[in-house]
Subunit: 81 residues, 2 copies
Protein backbone atom coordinates (compact mmCIF):
# COMPACT_ATOMS: atom_id res chain seq x y z
CA UNK A 1 0.00 0.00 0.00
CA UNK A 2 1.37 3.34 -1.06
CA UNK A 3 0.01 6.77 -0.17
CA UNK A 4 0.15 9.46 -2.83
CA UNK A 5 -0.07 13.17 -2.00
CA UNK A 6 -1.55 15.23 -4.81
CA UNK A 7 -1.51 19.03 -4.48
CA UNK A 8 -3.68 20.96 -6.89
CA UNK A 9 -2.75 24.65 -7.06
CA UNK A 10 -4.18 27.48 -9.09
CA UNK A 11 -1.85 28.64 -11.85
CA UNK A 12 -0.13 32.00 -11.50
CA UNK A 13 -2.41 34.76 -12.74
CA UNK A 14 -5.62 32.85 -12.00
CA UNK A 15 -7.77 34.67 -9.44
CA UNK A 16 -7.81 32.94 -6.05
CA UNK A 17 -10.94 34.31 -4.31
CA UNK A 18 -10.61 31.93 -1.37
CA UNK A 19 -7.02 32.99 -0.74
CA UNK A 20 -7.92 36.66 -1.12
CA UNK A 21 -10.81 36.37 1.30
CA UNK A 22 -8.75 34.49 3.85
CA UNK A 23 -6.19 37.28 3.66
CA UNK A 24 -8.88 39.93 4.14
CA UNK A 25 -10.40 38.05 7.07
CA UNK A 26 -7.02 37.58 8.76
CA UNK A 27 -6.28 41.28 8.35
CA UNK A 28 -9.67 42.15 9.84
CA UNK A 29 -8.87 39.87 12.77
CA UNK A 30 -5.79 41.96 13.44
CA UNK A 31 -3.01 39.90 11.88
CA UNK A 32 -0.32 42.13 10.36
CA UNK A 33 2.31 41.69 7.68
CA UNK A 34 0.51 39.16 5.52
CA UNK A 35 2.07 39.34 2.07
CA UNK A 36 -0.41 36.99 0.45
CA UNK A 37 -2.50 33.86 0.90
CA UNK A 38 -2.71 31.11 -1.68
CA UNK A 39 -5.30 28.34 -1.32
CA UNK A 40 -4.96 24.86 -2.77
CA UNK A 41 -6.51 21.39 -2.62
CA UNK A 42 -4.75 18.38 -1.23
CA UNK A 43 -5.72 14.76 -1.92
CA UNK A 44 -4.22 11.80 -0.09
CA UNK A 45 -4.84 8.69 -2.14
CA UNK A 46 -4.09 5.16 -0.93
CA UNK A 47 -3.17 2.81 -3.74
CA UNK A 48 -2.89 -0.96 -3.58
CA UNK A 49 0.35 -1.09 -5.56
CA UNK A 50 3.71 -1.17 -3.75
CA UNK A 51 5.66 0.17 -6.72
CA UNK A 52 6.21 3.91 -6.25
CA UNK A 53 6.82 4.47 -9.97
CA UNK A 54 3.50 2.84 -10.86
CA UNK A 55 1.78 4.86 -8.15
CA UNK A 56 3.22 8.13 -9.45
CA UNK A 57 2.17 7.31 -13.01
CA UNK A 58 -1.34 6.43 -11.88
CA UNK A 59 -1.65 9.63 -9.84
CA UNK A 60 -0.43 11.59 -12.84
CA UNK A 61 -3.25 10.11 -14.91
CA UNK A 62 -5.80 10.77 -12.14
CA UNK A 63 -4.78 14.43 -12.21
CA UNK A 64 -5.11 14.63 -15.96
CA UNK A 65 -8.47 12.89 -16.06
CA UNK A 66 -10.22 14.14 -12.91
CA UNK A 67 -8.41 16.09 -10.22
CA UNK A 68 -6.98 19.06 -12.11
CA UNK A 69 -8.23 21.34 -14.85
CA UNK A 70 -5.17 22.12 -16.98
CA UNK A 71 -6.54 25.53 -17.93
CA UNK A 72 -6.40 26.86 -14.38
CA UNK A 73 -4.59 24.26 -12.27
CA UNK A 74 -1.13 22.88 -11.89
CA UNK A 75 -0.42 19.86 -9.71
CA UNK A 76 2.41 18.20 -7.89
CA UNK A 77 2.62 14.59 -6.82
CA UNK A 78 4.61 13.07 -3.99
CA UNK A 79 4.65 9.38 -3.13
CA UNK A 80 4.86 8.41 0.54
CA UNK A 81 5.64 4.91 1.66
Amino acid sequence: MVRVRVEVHLRKGVTDPEGDNVQKALTLLGFKGIGGVHSAKLFLIDLATKDTKVARKEAEEMCRRLLANPVIHEYSIAVEK
Copy 2:
Protein backbone atom coordinates in the same frame (compact mmCIF):
# COMPACT_ATOMS: atom_id res chain seq x y z
CA MET B 1 9.59 37.01 4.20
CA VAL B 2 8.62 33.55 5.35
CA ARG B 3 6.13 31.22 3.71
CA VAL B 4 3.97 29.09 5.98
CA ARG B 5 2.20 25.94 4.76
CA VAL B 6 -0.97 25.19 6.67
CA GLU B 7 -2.72 21.88 6.02
CA VAL B 8 -6.28 21.56 7.33
CA HIS B 9 -7.45 17.94 7.45
CA LEU B 10 -10.71 16.44 8.58
CA ARG B 11 -10.43 14.54 11.84
CA LYS B 12 -10.63 10.76 11.78
CA GLY B 13 -14.24 9.67 11.87
CA VAL B 14 -15.58 12.84 10.25
CA THR B 15 -17.30 12.11 6.94
CA ASP B 16 -15.30 13.26 3.94
CA PRO B 17 -17.84 13.52 1.09
CA GLU B 18 -15.36 15.11 -1.30
CA GLY B 19 -12.84 12.34 -0.76
CA ASP B 20 -15.53 9.68 -1.07
CA ASN B 21 -16.84 11.15 -4.31
CA VAL B 22 -13.36 11.47 -5.79
CA GLN B 23 -12.82 7.80 -4.99
CA LYS B 24 -16.12 6.85 -6.64
CA ALA B 25 -15.36 8.93 -9.72
CA LEU B 26 -11.87 7.48 -10.07
CA THR B 27 -13.30 3.96 -9.80
CA LEU B 28 -15.89 4.80 -12.46
CA LEU B 29 -13.08 6.05 -14.68
CA GLY B 30 -11.49 2.62 -14.44
CA PHE B 31 -8.77 3.14 -11.82
CA LYS B 32 -8.33 0.03 -9.68
CA GLY B 33 -6.93 -0.67 -6.25
CA ILE B 34 -7.83 2.61 -4.60
CA GLY B 35 -7.87 2.03 -0.85
CA GLY B 36 -9.23 5.45 0.04
CA VAL B 37 -9.13 9.12 -0.79
CA HIS B 38 -8.81 11.84 1.80
CA SER B 39 -9.34 15.49 0.85
CA ALA B 40 -7.83 18.45 2.65
CA LYS B 41 -7.23 22.18 2.32
CA LEU B 42 -3.85 23.76 1.93
CA PHE B 43 -3.04 27.42 2.59
CA LEU B 44 0.28 29.02 1.69
CA ILE B 45 0.66 32.21 3.68
CA ASP B 46 3.46 34.73 3.14
CA LEU B 47 4.39 36.56 6.31
CA ALA B 48 6.60 39.64 6.62
CA THR B 49 8.53 38.29 9.61
CA LYS B 50 11.84 36.49 9.09
CA ASP B 51 11.68 34.65 12.40
CA THR B 52 10.40 31.11 11.79
CA LYS B 53 9.31 30.72 15.43
CA VAL B 54 7.19 33.87 15.26
CA ALA B 55 5.75 32.73 11.93
CA ARG B 56 4.77 29.35 13.34
CA LYS B 57 3.13 30.91 16.37
CA GLU B 58 1.19 33.34 14.21
CA ALA B 59 0.04 30.55 11.86
CA GLU B 60 -1.03 28.55 14.90
CA GLU B 61 -3.23 31.45 16.00
CA MET B 62 -4.62 31.88 12.47
CA CYS B 63 -5.69 28.24 12.53
CA ARG B 64 -7.36 28.63 15.90
CA ARG B 65 -9.16 31.82 14.98
CA LEU B 66 -10.08 31.28 11.32
CA LEU B 67 -8.70 28.44 9.25
CA ALA B 68 -9.73 25.37 11.23
CA ASN B 69 -12.82 24.31 13.12
CA PRO B 70 -11.54 22.30 16.10
CA VAL B 71 -14.67 20.16 16.18
CA ILE B 72 -13.99 18.61 12.77
CA HIS B 73 -10.51 19.72 11.69
CA GLU B 74 -6.94 19.11 12.67
CA TYR B 75 -4.11 21.13 11.19
CA SER B 76 -0.41 20.96 10.63
CA ILE B 77 1.98 23.84 10.07
CA ALA B 78 5.28 23.87 8.24
CA VAL B 79 7.47 26.93 7.80
CA GLU B 80 9.39 27.30 4.54
CA LYS B 81 12.13 29.85 4.10
